[in-house]
Symmetry: C2
Subunit: 113 residues, 2 copies
Amino acid sequence: MAKHHPDLDLLFHALSDPTRRMMLNRLAKGPAPVTELAGPSGFKLPTILRHLSVLEEAGLVATQKDGRVRSCAFQPAALRPMTDWLEDQRRLWEGRLDRLDDYVTKLLKEREK
Amino acid sequence: MAKHHPDLDLLFHALSDPTRRMMLNRLAKGPAPVTELAGPSGFKLPTILRHLSVLEEAGLVATQKDGRVRSCAFQPAALRPMTDWLEDQRRLWEGRLDRLDDYVTKLLKEREK
DNA sequence: TGTATAGTTAGCGATATGGCTAAGCATCAT
DNA sequence: ATGATGCTTAGCCATATCGCTAACTATACA
């Protein structure tokens, strides 16, 4: 377990915005051009483009240009560091419970004497 | 699926900072007073206190004062909206794959004619 | 060629974030 | 009662974030 994961910073930050999550939601159903991504949001294109670049920097979306249209695709693998973190956290927590269990067990043994 | 989950905003934002994740890491092993939380971070107390309040607002940590000491405890249940979101996202993505599968299947049937 | 379409860049303003110091308050130990 | 301890508040500064408009580039289509 490293001390500091910049991946996680970018990942969690990218996901902390409802507009970006809405964009991801759309992309999880399949690739889309920028305009379609902006469509339901009510935001202007430059705003959406900025959000898109945040998603790209987090690795959550990959884009490529075909003619004048940029196609955006969800990259589910980018969620991995997050699920790993969750798993680590869960392990720590359960370790805590185990130690509590050990403690109680020990207390009971003490009593038997 | 609601349109906008403020919980998720707070949750992801809270987790987007390495210092806050370090604090959570410590708390996952068991409750701790503010000073112990600040200890290894190298940051000053007011800074840590601010981070703590972000974690509290996200529901990730609950605190209570006992004398002059504030005890902080990790609240794993607060992670639920996040795991739910992950699950939704996964479902969407797999739905996409299923539809792709249907499409290929259909293509193959067309060929058989 | 000329016009519509799709995206891009530059830059502005309001607000939020993350760090700090300094000063204050409340409790515990002597 | 006095000092040490643990937390708290107020307020400052630098930077980042999120929205916008305006102006620009590049491709497609007639």
